[in-house]
Amino acid sequence: MKLMHCPLNGWRNIQEFTHGGEVVAEPDPNRCSDAEWAEFVFMEENKAGMVREWWCHTATAYWFIAERDTVKDEIIRTYDAGEVFKERIEFTRPEPPKEA
């Protein structure tokens, strides 16, 4: 059994967690091009080695960040997303498209 340290719940069986994908900067959906959005939605670094990813402790629906080595299958560090994301993301109404 493999254990993972949840910043909220402590050491838990890794089966209690859900992998959520790489931490990448989200482009502004109201301003970015279709190609930038497609890249954000579909493309993956998928690195052999150190990665920084979203994980969720499923039972408590708590999302956090883990640094992991995908070649050694080792979890290096887990921490609250607040360490990286200092500001709240605002979901504001998009500006109306400019008249052509």
């Binding site: 059994m1 890794i14 089966q15 859900t18 992998h19 279709d34 190609a35 497609a38 890249e39 579909f42 493309m43 993956e44 670094e45 998928n46 690195k47 052999a48 995908t70 070649v71 050694k72 299958d73």
Partner: protein, 413 residues
């Protein structure tokens, strides 16, 4: 007669030929370099040499041929997919597989068993009917069968309504088959080598040279070669190799595990798959029960296997086939699969001129080996993308034009 046999055994001139000659030295330049000596790369090399007269070809394989997913899969071959693009493509592969032993003059033990995708819920029954109708429309032999049919067709199957997930019916695909996967790699490699293709085992690609937007050379741990064209077919290593050419992919490398039991007398004809229970099982010609499940829960560049997997798998296997409770598991292993977001492959151009890709084969690419070889070779030889593989282009992700192959899911291929 016995003397003849003894003499033959002791003579030094055995006619038994070696499959591959000793590894040659690298030439300074090749017309085509193929990265990855799995089934896909080797089939591509064979088709280039045999049907397009392109023989100045090198295959670079990091380990030994067929040592990747080609030699690790559960060898299920079928064409009962869901999208018309998928069905047409896999149907061509099945027709090539059917005569592959003859084509390669090498027995790949192709064995048609009948393939059952069990449905345990109303929605699974609906999807099965949908698939059956798409299949029939495209000339593929598939039908929806019900509990009474299953009782007749697979007498061992546990059809009890007391089971945790009772079986309601199945999508039945009579041509569903299994084959000997190693033989597929060896057959293609042997024939390609006879035609002049160089197969370099134990040769790792470490970089790809791109000059003015066009591939110009490939660097290996044994030196650099120039090339006219190059193609990568490296399964779980797809993202790492593509990165060398400056290409980004929508792929995650996720292990898929499988296992076999000790050999037993032939007792199970059918190939049984349950998407809901994440199980597939068939009996090999050697008598082993070959069993697999769903992909691992998170990406890894590793092939270790786990107790979690075998425990989870067996609880479901025993629900379907309780008589296997006395059977012992002999080996388990994993392969690194290259999973795409729409469960369809990525084949064709990359944006780097003369650099092509064959990837995104995830948990479903063994059955596609012959058609990939044929169509990738056609593309390399003619410079045009064959219509059959055009839907699988990498640029579909830029255009939000995904294929959505739900007939694949991460189980049952």
């Amino acid at each position: 007669m016995p003397f003849g046999l003894i003499k033959y055994a002791l003579s030094s001139g055995h006619p038994a030929k070696r499959f591959l000659l000793a590894r040659p030295e690298l030439k300074p330049s090749y017309d085509v370099v193929i990265i990855g000596g799995g089934g896909h790369g080797l089939a591509t090399a064979y088709h280039l040499a045999r049907y397009h007269g392109i023989r100045n070809v090198a295959v670079f394989e990091k380990g030994y041929i067929g040592g990747g997913n080609t030699g690790r899969n559960t060898a299920i071959i079928r064409s009962n997919y869901l999208t018309p693009e998928g069905v047409a493509f896999y149907e061509e592969s099945v027709s090539l597989y059917r005569q592959l032993s003859r084509e390669l003059d090498y027995n790949i033990l192709y064995s048609e068993r009948g393939h059952f995708t069990l449905a345990h819920t109303d929605s699974a029954m609906r999807t099965s009917r949908w698939r059956a109708e798409v299949n029939k429309h495209l000339g593929v032999d598939s039908e929806l069968v019900y509990r009474d049919d299953l009782a007749r067709l697979i007498p061992e199957l546990n059809l009890s309504e007391e089971a945790a997930y009772p079986i309601l019916g199945a999508l039945y695909h009579p041509p569903g088959a299994v084959a000997r996967h190693d033989a597929v790699a060896w057959g293609y490699a042997g024939r390609a080598a006879e035609l002049g293709v160089e197969i370099h085992q134990d040769t790792t690609v470490t970089d790809i040279e791109v000059t003015d937007g066009r591939v110009s050379g490939v660097v290996t741990d044994r030196g650099r070669v120039a090339c006219g064209k190059a193609v990568q077919a490296v399964a779980g290593a797809s993202s790492e190799i593509a990165r060398m050419a400056g290409v980004k992919l929508p792929i995650r490398t996720i292990p898929l595990q499988a296992c076999v039991s000790q050999p037993h007398k032939p007792s199970l004809d059918a190939i049984i798959v349950s998407g809901s229970l994440h199980v597939y099982i068939s009996q090999s010609d050697r008598g082993e029960f070959v069993m697999g499940g769903s992909t691992d829960p998170y990406p890894r560049y590793q092939t270790s296997s786990s107790l979690d997997f075998i425990e989870g798998l067996m609880s479901h296997v025993l629900e379907l086939l309780p008589h296997l409770s006395e059977v012992q598991v002999m080996r388990q292993w994993a392969g690194m699969t290259d999973m795409t977001p729409d469960f369809a492959p990525i084949m064709g151009e990359t944006g780097v001129e003369n650099y092509y890709i064959d990837a995104g084969w995830g948990t479903w690419g063994f059955k596609a080996t012959p058609v990939c070889g044929k169509r990738m070779a056609e593309m390399l030889a003619t410079g045009r993308v064959p219509a059959l593989i055009a839907p699988f282009r990498l640029s579909r992700f830029e255009n939000f034009d995904l294929v959505g192959e739900k007939g694949a899911a991460s189980v049952g291929h």
